[in-house]
Structures are given as structure tokens and as C-alpha cells.
């Protein structure tokens, strides 16, 4: 019997499709000891989540098939166990937490009931006892007023709280192994830092082994002892975090690390002419809260955006950072005139945008374009790429005569790094990064002066993200575009923006040149954000953790 808690040997998983098999995982081996955290790092499609599913026996078979290999847990081969033996192990000895907490908590049961149920099912605990234990568990993961909140339902908790509840549920049976599949990916950086602290604390207290699946180098640096880098179904590099991140050997790891934004100080940016083109003055958006039987307005409002003023100059990039719920997307929608502001004015070249109509609005539409966050949703799935890119021209008939469309489509596709042949395809035939390129090509079709990027790179893998950022930068230089770059990711903003505005609860709390805000943050919220944003360096990360504690203590 080996001394390792978990040992995976030569595991290979393939997916049968109609057109033939796809090798998702191609012979990976790793081990994990008690009290240790192993991070499996990889981008989308690298096979990391599939491997985790195989360990938890939640792989869909078919179409999935474990072709060969073994998974030894405490010396027993999990793949040869019967289904009922596996069920007993899952939850009791091996627990899992997921990225999408809303999907993995049952919406029709109260959370206290769900935690208690685990205890009743596995430990045959009496209902009352299980209930008391559930409340204690909720308290231990930092849910305030646990006795009262145990009766609440999953949707009544915030994303961070739901992840805490998932951890409470996973820890209920004190498992020996915790598999965490992207546990903090959907969370804001400040919440992410808290969840990582909680996981670290739980691991140290119980001595469990933790298998962390993530794409985020910063998370790896924060919590992992060792890391295995996965690429195209194989582990290309493995070792202690400090060694792998500090001195990467494999070409892929090196590329991955160099793609992380903000690793090096951004190149000095050309000075920007002081020509304001787009201006928001004291912009406010309130959503009335309706309640009761007839959805009457209760008189209360949600202040999504609360008195925001900002100016975008010609050829400049203005970054707007903030966490979810800070109002940054509502701000973007107002600037695009998709949403009417409650009060305040938006000036485009000195003219009030909300008073525009007919030809004035059309010309505004032509000159201000957008790239949305989700390239899967922002392209009409029933249109071919050529139709998507040509659509602006069918609306603005004077931009380009029809005979030149095809040539220009090919030109735009090459400009964003795609092939002209791609014009005949549909959006679903592209990867996320490629789709975002299509969205950028479409935004460029009208040769706008301003592009509003609403979390335009947030959904992309870091290496793709770096490519898109470089592309945006090139286009700005070549065409003198101005970007309003909205993001939650501070290093990304730092890399691309000239000036930055930090938003919190609908207000801009700090605004200034990028370097100044990042190097000498004035507002406590900016400081908290900076301290919570992880960097792919274990030592720097430990220093930040310390700084964050001090900030919280202060």
C-alpha cells in the first residue's frame, strides 16, 4: 500500500463522438498527500475538469470512457469499486465543491436542511442533532446568524456565501480528500481571497488533502503546495509551486506565465491629446423596487449608478474597474443608450446623447460601438460570420457600397487574426477567443471612434486574453480609437488603460492616471481591491495576504 492519499496512474479518458473519439485526458499521473494542496492548472479544454470528474465518479459514461489507468485512494482502486461502495466513499471520504454554486445547491430546500441531510444520510445522525451540527458548520464557514439563516434558500445568499455553504456541506463529514473545481472563478477578488482563506484554514484544521482545479495562476500561488500543469490532456510540468511558477521549464508554462497581465510594468503609453469626446455628467440610474401582490413600487430604489462623472478623450483608454454589482455594466448600457439614465447627462462631442433622434442617433450609433463580455451570447447564432460583420453596413447604408463588402469582410477578418475563409461559418463553430475576435471585427466594421469594452476579455483564458489585449492595443495605435474598458480584473486594466476609475456601489471612489492609482491608491476600497487581486508568485502572494489582514484589521 502506497503512502499517498490519492494516486492517479496513467489515467486516460476519451469521449466518443459520432465522428470518432476525442482523447480528453491522455495518460496523466499524479499523487496527493494528506494535508497537502495540489493544484491542477490548465486552460479550458485541457482536461482538468474531466480528470476531477473521473476521481469523483461523476463522469458521464457514455460518452466518456476511462480507457486505462488507475485511481488509488488510500490504497484502493476507485475504478474497480462497485457503485454502492463508491457512493459511500463520495461525500464521506471524498467531497467536492464546484464553480457554479447555484446549480449545485438544490433550490427548493433550505440550506440548513441540505447540510443536515448529508449528515443524516452518511452518519445516521438524528434529525435534531444533524440540524444543530449544520448550524455549527455554517457558523464555522462564517455565515452570520447561522441559526436563522439555516432556514433560508440558496438564492437568498450571495455567490460568496453560497460557496461557503458548499464548503460547509463538503466539510460536514470531514472528508480525507476535497476536490475543488474552480471554486472561486465566479467570485469577486475580495470574496475569492476570503474563500481561499477559508479553504486553507479547513485544510490545516482537518489535515485533508485538497485537489484544486483552476485556470488562475494567482489562486495557485496563493494556496497550492504543488502544481501540475495540464495542456491538451497531458501533464506537461509538475513540481512545487515556487519552482514551477518561479522557474518554469516547459514552453507552455512559460507562455502561460508571460501571458498573465501586469507581470511586467506596462510599456509607457503615448500621451493622449486633451480632446474630450465622450462625457458622463453626474449620471444616475435608479431601479425601483417593486413588491407585494400587484408589483407596486415600494418607493425604495436600487442605486445601480449613483452620480458618476467621467470623461473619455480621443485615442485614450479609460479603465473602469469594480466588482460585481458595482454598477459598471449599467453604466456601459447607459453610455450606449440601451438604458435611459434616471438623471444626469451623457455628452458625445458636446451634444446630449439622450436628446438625439433619427439621423443624430444613427450617427452616434455609427461612431460608438461595443464589445460585450460573452462572445457566446453577443453574436446571433443563426447568422454567418459574413452576415454578422456586414449587418452594420445594411443598417448604415452609406458606409460601404455593397460590391465592396466581401473584400472588406476578408480584410477585417485578417485584421483581427482570423482567416477570410471563416466568413462562411457560423459562430458556434469557433472557440471563445475566436468569437470575441468576430465581435471586435463587427465593432470595427463601422470604423467607430469609441469602443466600449464591457468585460470584453473576462471570459477568456489568459493566453487568449493576452492576444485580444494586444490586438486592441494595435488597433488603437493604427486607428486612433478610444476605449472605455470595463473590467473587474485589475492587472488587465493596468496593462491597457491610460486612466482608471474605480467603482464601488454605483459611485466612482477614485479616478486618475493608471500608474498613480495602482502605485499610490488613496481610497481604502482601491487598496482592498489591490491587496485581494492575486499574483502568480507565492511569496508576493503571501505578502499580499498579510497586507490584506492588516487592512482588514485596521
Amino acid at each position: 500500500m502506497s503512502g499517498h492519499l490519492l494516486e492517479v496512474n496513467d489515467l486516460a479518458i476519451s469521449f466518443g463522438t459520432v465522428g470518432g473519439g476525442v482523447q480528453a485526458v491522455d495518460g496523466i499521473s499524479f499523487h496527493l498527500d494528506r494535508g497537502e494542496t495540489l493544484a491542477i492548472l490548465g486552460e479550458s479544454g485541457s482536461g482538468k475538469s474531466v480528470s476531477a470528474s473521473a476521481i469523483m465518479a461523476i463522469l458521464d459514461c457514455p460518452p466518456g470512457r476511462i480507457a486505462r489507468g488507475s485511481i488509488l485512494f488510500e490504497g484502493r482502486d476507485l475504478l474497480s469499486l462497485s457503485e454502492s461502495e463508491r457512493r459511500r466513499l463520495n461525500g464521506e471520504r471524498i467531497a467536492m465543491i464546484f464553480q457554479d454554486t447555484l446549480a449545485h445547491l438544490n433550490p427548493v430546500y433550505s440550506v440548513g436542511w441540505q447540510i443536515a441531510e448529508t449528515l443524516e444520510a452518511h452518519k445516521r445522525m438524528a434529525a435534531r442533532e444533524a440540524r444543530a451540527k449544520a448550524v455549527r458548520l455554517m457558523e464555522s464557514v462564517g455565515i452570520p446568524e447561522p441559526a436563522r439563516r439555516a432556514n433560508d434558500y440558496p438564492h437568498q445568499f450571495s455567490g460568496g456565501q453560497r460557496q461557503r455553504l458548499m464548503i460547509a456541506m463538503a466539510m460536514a463529514l470531514e472528508p480525507a480528500l476535497l476536490v475543488a473545481d474552480e471554486p472561486t472563478t465566479a467570485l469577486d477578488v475580495t470574496v475569492q481571497a476570503q474563500i481561499l482563506d477559508l479553504l486553507r484554514e479547513a485544510r490545516d484544521r482537518t489535515g485533508m488533502g485538497m485537489l484544486l482545479i483552476t485556470h488562475d495562476l494567482g489562486v495557485v500561488a496563493d494556496i497550492a503546495d504543488r502544481v501540475a500543469v495540464m495542456y491538451q490532456g497531458r501533464i506537461v510540468e509538475t513540481g512545487p509551486v515556487r519552482e514551477v511558477l518561479g522557474n518554469p521549464q516547459h514552453g507552455y508554462t512559460q507562455r502561460l506565465l508571460s501571458a498573465v497581465p501586469g507581470r511586467e510594468p506596462p510599456p509607457p503609453r503615448a500621451p493622449v491629446a486633451d480632446l474630450p469626446v465622450f462625457e458622463a455628467r453626474n449620471l444616475t440610474k435608479h431601479f425601483p423596487i417593486t413588491g407585494g401582490l400587484f408589483r407596486r413600487a415600494t418607493g425604495e430604489v436600487v442605486r445601480a449608478v449613483d452620480g458618476v462623472s467621467l470623461t473619455l478623450h480621443r485615442g485614450e483608454t479609460l479603465g473602469v474597474v469594480g466588482e460585481s454589482g458595482s454598477g459598471k455594466s449599467t453604466l456601459a448600457r447607459m453610455l450606449l443608450r440601451l438604458e435611459e439614465p434616471t438623471s444626469g447627462a451623457i455628452l458625445f462631442e458636446g451634444k446630449d446623447v439622450s436628446s438625439l433622434g433619427g439621423p443624430g442617433l444613427l450617427s452616434f450609433r455609427r461612431r460608438v460601438q461595443v464589445v460585450f463580455q460573452d462572445p457566446f451570447a453577443s453574436l446571433d447564432p443563426r447568422m454567418r460570420v459574413a452576415e454578422l460583420i456586414a449587418e452594420p453596413w445594411t443598417i448604415h447604408k452609406d458606409v460601404l457600397p455593397r460590391p465592396r463588402w466581401n473584400a472588406r469582410i476578408a480584410e477585417l477578418l485578417s485584421l483581427v487574426g482570423l482567416q477570410p475563409e471563416h466568413a462562411a461559418r457560423y459562430p458556434h463553430q469557433f472557440s471563445g477567443g475566436q468569437r470575441q475576435r468576430i465581435a471586435i471585427a463587427r465593432a470595427l466594421a463601422l470604423e467607430p471612434e469609441i469602443i466600449i469594452c464591457d468585460e470584453a476579455v473576462s471570459a477568456l483564458d489568459v493566453s487568449i486574453q493576452a492576444q485580444i489585449l494586444a490586438l486592441l492595443d494595435d488597433l488603437q495605435r493604427a486607428m486612433g480609437l478610444a476605449y472605455l474598458f470595463i473590467a473587474h480584473d485589475l492587472p488587465v486594466v493596468r496593462q491597457i488603460a491610460d486612466r482608471v476609475a474605480v467603482m464601488q456601489r454605483g459611485r466612482i471612489v477614485e479616478q486618475g492616471p493608471c500608474e498613480e492609482v495602482f502605485e499610490r491608491p488613496q481610497h481604502p476600497y482601491t487598496r482592498a481591491l489591490l491587496a485581494a487581486s492575486p499574483v502568480p508568485d507565492p511569496d508576493a502572494q503571501a505578502a499580499r495576504r498579510k497586507a490584506r489582514r492588516e487592512l482588514a484589521g485596521a
Partner: protein, 307 residues
């Protein structure tokens, strides 16, 4: 240069490609053949077998089917007045299909349009449409039909209108529900940012997503309308003899189920087969019209699918 090959590929699919996709789905292919045959029979049948539908032969009253002794016209038996079942089925297919397709087309077009409007327009217009749909829905449709057809004369045009009106709410509500979700989609916002007006956004980005659902609904509704028409005919306020429909034949044959089952069975079988074919064809169309699903119907589509 790829752009040279682009126009053809980027435009709509050619008829040949649609046929190829139909051939990939054997069930839909059969359904299409059956419907074609039916339409051909309805159009040409009365010309081929003139007057046989009305010719009585009292010696052959309730003659059983599948006997060729009396000539091929009586292969499906004869009815209580000794009329050829086959000839009557063909004769009936004409009015049945006409009434049902006219009623379904009418409610599909009007209901769909109203539903799109109700989903798009906010304010009193949308409210008016929806409340109208509610009223229609809460009023027993058969009762409405009886009242209307009793007051006016029971002509084919009136039957079509009554049937269409009673089915309107289904289309209105389905279309509106889908529109409400679709109009918040990101690509609709993207179109607005490009400067697309409400008409363009609706026709280009929203309606194509609602259409498959409504078409499937229409296929199912076809059966409902055929049966509703037969119910009206049974009550004597629908199709008036000597005109005949499948529904009327079922209603008339009902009394002879024990002694001459074929009187009700064959028209019933045709109602079922027609509905089934329409359903199969509708579900094929839903796949064929969706670029993300279409590869299932294309030879070698899997290989060319990956970017």
C-alpha cells in the same frame, strides 16, 4: 481569394441542400412523401374519379374492405349507402385539408404577429392584445363556434374564421413568452448598438428564433382543427352534406363501429397520419433551420464542423 467563393455560401441554402438534408432523415422523408401524395390526391383525385364519391350502390352497403371482387374503387370498403370509401376519402381530403390549412395558416399568421407585437410593444397595446387572448381562452371555444355558426350560416369560410379565432391565444401567448426572453439577449442589444431599429431587430434577430416553435405548434394544431371541425360537423353546424370531410366521416361512422369499423377507422387513420407527418416534418425543419443543429443532417458535417 476566399471572398470569391463567399457569396454563394453566405446566402441562403439552395433547394438541393434542403433536399439532401431531408434525405438524411428517413422518417421526415416518408412524412413529406405522404403529404405530397395527399395534396396531389386532393387536387387531382376528384378529376380522376369523377362522381364515384357520390355514386350509391345499395347492394354494396357496408361492404368490407380489402376485397377486390367489386373493383379497385371498393378496396377500402363502402359506406352505409354503398359509396366507395376510397373515393369518399379522396373527396373528403380536399375540404378537410382546405379548412384545416386555412384555419391554421390564419391563426398562425395573425396570432404570431400579435404575439410578436405584444412581446415588443409595452403599454396599453400589449395589454389589449393579451386581455383579448385571455377572453378568448376563457370562453369555451366550441360554444363560441356554435354561437357564431348558428347565428351566421355554416359556410366553409365561416368555419375557417371561427376555428382560426379560437386558436389565436395559443400563438399569441407562445410568441410573446419567447419574445420577452429573446429581446433581452445580448445579440439583440448588440444589434441596437449597431443602430438597428425595432423592425429590423424583430425581423432579423428575434422572429427567426420564434418561428420554429410556432411552426411545431401549428403542426400539432392541425390535428386539433381537424377534430374541432368534425365536432362542429357532427353537431350539424359544420360542413354540410353532400360536402364531406374526414371528421364528418368519423362522426357518421361512429354508430357503426361494431358492425362496420372501417367507416370510422379509415378517415381516423388519415387524420392521424396527416398529423404525424406534419409533426415529423416540423421537427425535421426545426433541426434543419438551426445552424447549430444542422450538422446532424449533413453528410460529413462532423468533420467540417470543428473550426
Amino acid at each position: 481569394m476566399a471572398s470569391a467563393s463567399l457569396p454563394g455560401a453566405a446566402r441562403g441554402l439552395g433547394a438541393r441542400r434542403w433536399l439532401a438534408m431531408l434525405a438524411r432523415d428517413p422518417l421526415a422523408c416518408l412524412a413529406a412523401l405522404f403529404l405530397l401524395l395527399l395534396v396531389a390526391a386532393a387536387l387531382l383525385g376528384p378529376a380522376l374519379i369523377p362522381e364515384s364519391a357520390g355514386r350509391m350502390n345499395l347492394r354494396l352497403r357496408n361492404a368490407p374492405p380489402f376485397e377486390l371482387a367489386n373493383g379497385w374503387l371498393y378496396v377500402l370498403g363502402a359506406d352505409t349507402l354503398g359509396r366507395s370509401m376510397l373515393a369518399r376519402l379522396i373527396e373528403a381530403s380536399r375540404s378537410t385539408l382546405m379548412v384545416a390549412s386555412a384555419a391554421v395558416a390564419l391563426s398562425f399568421l395573425i396570432g404570431g404577429t400579435l404575439g410578436v407585437l405584444a412581446g415588443y410593444a409595452r403599454g396599453w397595446g400589449a395589454t389589449l392584445i393579451l386581455r383579448m387572448a385571455d377572453v378568448l381562452m376563457s370562453f369555451p371555444s366550441l360554444l363560441l363556434a356554435v354561437v357564431v355558426l348558428y347565428t351566421f350560416s355554416p359556410s366553409i369560410a365561416n368555419i375557417v374564421v371561427v376555428l382560426a379565432v379560437t386558436r389565436l391565444p395559443v400563438y399569441i401567448r407562445t410568441a410573446r413568452a419567447e419574445i420577452l426572453e429573446l429581446r433581452e439577449r445580448m445579440f439583440v442589444s448588440a444589434a441596437r448598438v449597431m443602430g438597428a431599429g425595432p423592425v429590423r431587430t424583430a425581423l432579423r434577430h428575434v422572429v427567426p428564433f420564434v418561428l420554429p416553435t410556432l411552426l411545431t405548434l401549428a403542426a400539432v394544431d392541425f390535428a386539433y382543427v381537424m377534430l374541432a371541425e368534425s365536432a362542429l360537423s357532427f353537431l350539424g353546424i359544420g360542413i354540410q352534406p353532400p360536402d364531406v370531410t374526414w371528421g364528418l366521416m368519423v362522426a357518421q361512422g361512429r354508430g357503426y363501429l361494431a358492425s362496420a369499423w372501417w367507416l370510422a377507422f379509415f378517415p381516423g387513420l388519415f387524420i392521424m397520419l396527416t398529423t404525424l407527418s406534419l409533426n415529423l416534418l416540423a421537427s425535421w425543419l426545426r433541426v434543419a433551420a438551426d445552424p447549430q443543429q444542422r450538422w446532424r443532417l449533413e453528410p460529413g458535417g462532423k468533420a467540417g464542423d470543428a473550426p
